[in-house]
Amino acid sequence: LGSLGANYIEATALILFGIGLTTLLLHKNLIKKLIGFNIMETSIFLYLTAKGYIAGRGAPIIIDGANNIELYINPIPSGLVLTGIVIAVSITAFMLALCIKIYEYYGTLDMDKIILISNKDGSKTTVSPRKLEDIIQQDSDDNDVDNIDTGIAENPDDEKDPDGQKGDD
């Protein structure tokens, strides 16, 4: 346990990674999945930055020729983090674009409902918007769900999940 205390930043990073992973895997809402992904990558950036930092040293910016290397932290992890941020941004942007598209086609961001709709309409490759509304209407009649179209809006039931999962990490 002593080493855990000494490496508390790394331990925090891994706990955050676990939270992000469970959010990404267990939430139905696509936006929340994306938030989970962002927590995961930020936790890895935290881990990398913590590993590259050496206490008491400064940023490796060299002015007036090379100085003593003892003055600087390891710059490579910072470089990796910068590259990682670029990648994470592009993945997030692409995923958000997909979310817009999927909302156009299915009228919801709830993955379970999307799979339900596409299974009901299995043989067709494209779902026409009018038919889609019918399906959703039917679906809401069947399951007595109140807020079908508000996949983005906060669903009070979803709040329970992250707290329930934190213990497992």
């Binding site: 992973l21 990404l24 490579i76 590259t83 993945i91 086609y105 494209t126």
Partner: protein, 501 residues
């Protein structure tokens, strides 16, 4: 430094530049021509590189980017294995893009088709970098580019199904990328290197001294899981059938034939160049790969048996064949790696042929359901013949590409004392299952009872003017070539792994 030393860099940079050039040109015909010319250029350079490597005294070389020496700079590395893989990949890419070009121009919005070819070029670029890189972080970056480009070409055929498939694809692949990055960060914090060779020195030293066993095990496990997700090994395969089943013809062929294989090549490089065979055996991860591979071989085939949609059936068959590749890696011997690499090539050629042929057959029958395609092989005979060859090859009939790869996998199994019997039983059972879904499908395609077979008289070998016809002839030829001339290819692969280690 000789001329061919620069080829790996050219093979990575040229498609990247071409991807931008395509955006300026925009006209579909020219854009396609440019993309295909790029694949031809890469194939020619890879062949040149391979021949020069065989003839020259140095069998493999590292190319330092920007002339920063080894522990600091970024490196590319080329040997017989890499050049052969890039040759096979560019040929398959060329044939898949050309073979499905009719469907591509039908399925994809005319105004946006240059974006499709841009993504195809980026995909080539990232595949080449994954094959040639000698640096873990570069591997990670291009893995992400590969994932985004692959998702983009899946969703290019815009429909509710493909958007859903892409979202599923992205969700699981995001997990996989993060696991890879975490493993990378941990490995870097233990070894202090991102280049594969210096990292291996430290890893071997640590393994000998008995320090940091846990981080080494965890990082290798994370790398393996991440790549297992990305290449759709059995428990993580759920994203694959949707993506492969709904995309347009050439995209299914490229995804199944190339994108999955690129990641496996990276795993092979990590195992043999970062950890080394001894350390991997000591950490016990290879056993996990072996058993995951075995499960995948059987489970993929069982799922394929239940499918009514022909493209989904072939997609599930890919899960089974990724299982073969992982089983080969799981033997953790150079012979097993070489057999796995042979299966990578054999499966790339066979699966792309099956998807291109299926695209033609689906157009002929007008449906994706197997029950609606009875007698369809008579209507488009070359596609029927290609499907026949592909199915026989995947079952493992001699003279076709699938036979030598299964043969070498079995041969690699003999040297594994404990795993040999299990591997033999699963190989036999999986072959039986492969036959169980391909043979009835073939029987239906060649049946004379259905309405489609009335076209027997009018059925054509090459009369219809479609780019798929020469492509299918080419793929059948490549398949038979791989099935007959396997001894020189295999000895080259063995050599490649000797130099890789």
């Amino acid at each position: 430094m000789q001329l061919f030393n620069h080829f790996p860099l050219i093979m990575i940079m040229a498609p990247m530049i071409m991807a931008m050039a395509v955006l300026i040109v925009k006209k579909e015909y020219y854009v396609r021509l440019m993309t295909l010319a790029m694949q031809t250029l890469i194939a020619a350079l890879s062949l040149w590189l391979l021949i020069s490597l065989i003839n020259s005294e140095v069998e493999a070389f590292a190319y330092t980017m920007g002339y920063y020496p080894a522990p600091w700079g970024n490196e590319l590395r080329a040997g017989p294995l890499e050049s052969m893989m890039s040759f096979a990949f560019s040929i398959v890419m060329f044939l898949s893009l050309l073979g499905g070009s009719k469907d591509t121009s039908r399925d994809i919005n005319k105004d946006k088709i240059h974006y499709f070819y841009m993504m195809a070029n980026l995909l080539t670029c990232s595949l080449m970098s994954i094959v040639y890189t000698n640096d873990l972080f570069t591997g990670y970056v291009f893995m992400e580019i590969n994932m985004l480009a692959a998702c983009a070409i899946v969703v290019a055929k815009e429909s509710g199904e493909t958007v859903k498939a892409t979202v599923k694809y992205m969700c699981l692949n995001m997990v996989a990328s993060m696991l890879f990055l975490l493993a990378l960060a941990m490995l870097y914090s233990v070894t202090g290197h991102l280049l594969m060779e210096p990292a291996k020195d430290v890893v071997v030293m640590l393994a000998d001294s008995g320090q940091f066993q846990m981080p080494l095990t965890v990082t290798l496990a994370l790398f393996t899981i991440s790549i297992a997700i990305k290449s759709a090994l059995f428990p993580f395969h759920t994203w694959l059938p949707d993506a492969h089943g709904n995309a347009t013809t050439s995209v299914s062929a490229i995804l199944s034939g190339l994108v999955l294989k690129g990641y496996v090549i990276l795993l092979l490089k990590i195992i043999s160049r970062v950890y080394g065979v001894e350390v991997v055996g000591m950490l016990g991860i290879s056993n996990a790969m072996f058993f995951l591979g075995l499960t995948s071989m059987v489970a993929g085939s069982i799922f394929a048996l239940q499918q009514k949609d022909i493209k989904r059936m072939i997609a599930y068959s890919t899960v089974a064949h990724i299982g073969y590749i992982f089983m080969g890696i799981g033997f953790n011997t150079p012979a097993g790696f070489a057999a796995a690499s042979y299966h990578i090539m054999a499966h790339a050629f066979t699966k792309s042929m099956l998807f291109v042929a299926t695209g033609v057959l689906i157009n002929a029958a007008g449906t994706k359901e197997i029950s609606g395609m009875i007698g369809v092989a008579w209507k488009s005979r070359i596609a029927g013949a290609a499907f026949l060859v592909g199915a026989l090859s995947l079952i493992g009939i001699p003279l076709f590409a699938g036979f030598p790869s299964k043969f070498y996998l079995a041969e690699a199994a003999i040297h594994d004392e404990q795993g040999a019997w299990i591997a033999f039983i699963f190989l036999a059972f999986s072959t039986f299952l492969n036959a169980l879904y391909y043979v009835p499908t073939l029987y239906k395609f060649y049946s004379t009872k259905g309405t489609l077979s009335q076209a027997i008289e009018g059925g054509s070998w090459a009369r219809e003017k479609s780019p798929a016809t020469p492509v299918l002839f080419g793929l059948i030829g490549a398949n038979i070539a791989l099935g007959v001339f396997y001894i020189p290819i295999m000895s080259l692969l063995h050599e490649g792994f000797e130099w890789l280690g």
